[in-house]
Assembly symmetry: C2
Homo-oligomer: 277 residues x 2
C-alpha cells in the first residue's frame, strides 16, 4: 500500500506549465512492479466494496474522466479497474466525434446526458475536454469559441461537485515513443488490429499540437473542486495501480455507508416467519 | 461442458402452459455443483472472448432480457456473468417504475432508447415485459391496453432481430419458499438490507397473480425469433452457469470475428519504422 497519498503525488502542481516536465515512465508512490501487481486484487476488492456502498446509498456519485492520447490506455483502464466493480452501479460513456444532433447543441449538452445517476460510478471515456482538444487542434471552431470553454468547463465541474458528483480527472500521460510501440502492436496482433485506424498516424503527426492543448487543459482546468491527476502511463501495471489508488482514496474520503433502514427489520422478519405455505 | 444444448433444455416448450410445472430447484444440463462452479471461470473466459469479437465487429448486438420475481437474482446474474465481460462493450439498463415523462410516451419508447448500440452486449434488468406484468397485476392500465401489448412486443422483438439485435430472454424462476429465505437474508445482513423495501412483502402477497401474468408472458411471447428461456434459479450456482451457457451458445452461433483490416498493415508498419524521433 502507498504510504503517501497518491492524489498528492499525482495532482497537477500549482505552478504547472507543461507535460514535458513529467516523465511518462515514472512510477510515483509505487515501490516495484511485482509488488504493485500483487497488490492490485486486494485494492480492487476494497474499491468494489466502497463502490457497492456508494451504490447502496443512492445519493452521491463518482465520475472518472479519462483523457489521453490515442493508445494511452483508456480502454485498458476501464477493463482492468472498472471491470472489477459491480456493473449495475457503473455507467460508462464513450464520447466520440459529435453527431449531427449533438453539434446542434451546446458542447455540454451530450455531457450532461451522460452523467452518472445518484449512487453510480460514472466513467467518461473522453469527455467535454475533447471540445478544447481535438476541436482546437483540428480548428473545428474558431479560437474565441474554444477559448471561452475553459471557464465554462470549470463552472460546470463546480456545479457537478455542488450537485453531489465527485469528479476525478485522469490524464493518461504516455510518451510518443511508447505510442509507436503500441501502434505497432496493434498492427501486428490480429486481435488488436481493429483498434487501429489509418488516421491514427495523421493524429500522431499532430503530437506537439495535442501536447500544447493538453498543457492548457491542465493549466486552466485544474481547480480545487476538480484537479487534474497526471498518471504516467507508459507502464500499464503502474497505470492500473495508480488509477485504482486514486479512486480508492477518493471513495475513502467520500466514506459511503450502507444506509440505515427506515423500517424495523424485526417486524418484517416476524411477518415472513408467520407465513404458512 | 454441457453435452446437450442448454438452449434446447431451457427453451419454453411449444405446449407451455404454466411455470408451476417447472421445478425452480432443477439443474438441467449441469452435472453437479462443484463441477459447474469449477467450470465457470473458463466459461466466462470464452464468453468474454466472443463478446470482445462482437464488440470489434461493431455491427451486430446481443441483448439479454432479465426478468423474474423480486430476489430471483437479476442483480446477482449481472454481477457474476456480465461482470466478467469488457465493460466498454456492455450496456446495462435497469427499468424501474416509469417516470412521468416516460408515462407520456408509448411503453416501448424508453425501451428503444435503452437498446445496445452495434457491437454492444445489452442487458435489460427488467424490461418492456413489466408493462404486461406489474402493470397488469396492479391494474395500472385497463385490461384491453395491456392485453394488446403481447402482439406489440412480439412485433418489436422481431424488428430487433431484423435490425441485427439477437435477443436472449431469460426468466429467472424461483420458488416462493426460496424468496422467503432471500428476503430474510436481506433483513439479517446489514450489507444487504438496503435491497429490502417494506413493499416487497406486499408484492409477495401477489405471488399467484404474478405467476399467472408470467405464464401469459411465456405462452404469448415465446416466439421463434425470441424464445423465452426459463432458468431454474433457486440455486445461484446453477443460475450463473446456465445464463453463461445460454449467452455463450448464442454467441457461438452468431460467430463474431475480428474484422479484416480495410488497409495494408505493412504500409503503416513501415511508416512508423521510418520515423526519426
Amino acid at each position: 500500500m502507498a504510504k503517501r497519498s497518491i492524489r498528492d503525488l499525482l495532482r497537477a502542481p500549482a505552478g504547472f506549465t507543461t507535460l514535458d516536465e513529467l516523465d511518462p515512465a515514472a512510477t510515483p508512490g509505487a515501490r516495484e512492479k511485482a509488488r504493485a501487481i500483487a497488490d492490485l486484487p486486494e485494492l480492487l476488492r476494497e474499491l468494489s466494496s466502497q463502490q457497492e456502498q456508494l451504490w447502496a446509498e443512492h445519493t452521491r456519485s463518482l465520475l472518472l474522466v479519462l483523457q489521453g492520447m490515442d493508445t494511452s490506455g483508456k480502454d485498458g483502464t476501464i477493463r482492468h479497474v472498472i471491470g472489477g466493480l459491480n456493473p449495475a452501479g457503473t455507467k460508462i460513456v464513450a464520447f466520440k466525434q459529435p453527431t449531427a444532433v449533438e453539434l446542434r447543441h451546446d458542447f455540454l449538452w451530450r455531457i450532461r446526458r451522460g452523467l452518472p445517476e445518484p449512487g453510480q460510478t460514472g466513467i467518461f471515456n473522453r469527455s467535454h475536454y475533447e471540445d478544447v482538444l481535438v476541436v482546437r487542434v483540428h480548428r473545428l471552431v474558431p479560437r474565441p469559441v474554444w477559448a471561452a470553454r475553459f471557464a465554462r468547463i470549470n463552472a460546470f465541474e463546480q456545479e457537478l461537485g455542488a450537485g453531489g458528483i465527485t469528479v476525478v480527472k485522469v490524464l493518461l500521460h504516455i510518451s510518443k515513443r511508447e505510442q509507436r510501440e503500441r501502434l505497432l502492436a496493434r498492427l501486428d496482433d490480429p486481435t488488436k488490429r481493429w483498434k487501429f485506424r489509418p488516421g491514427d498516424l495523421e493524429e500522431r503527426k499532430r503530437w506537439p499540437a495535442y501536447l500544447r492543448a493538453y498543457d492548457d487543459v491542465v493549466r486552466r482546468c485544474s481547480t480545487p473542486a476538480a484537479p487534474w491527476y497526471v498518471v504516467p502511463a507508459d507502464r500499464k501495471w503502474y497505470r492500473n495501480w495508480a488509477v485504482s489508488q486514486l479512486l480508492l482514496e477518493t471513495l475513502r474520503e467520500m466514506d459511503p455507508h450502507y444506509p440505515q433502514p427506515s423500517f424495523d427489520p424485526a417486524i418484517y422478519r416476524a411477518k415472513l416467519a408467520a407465513e404458512r405455505d
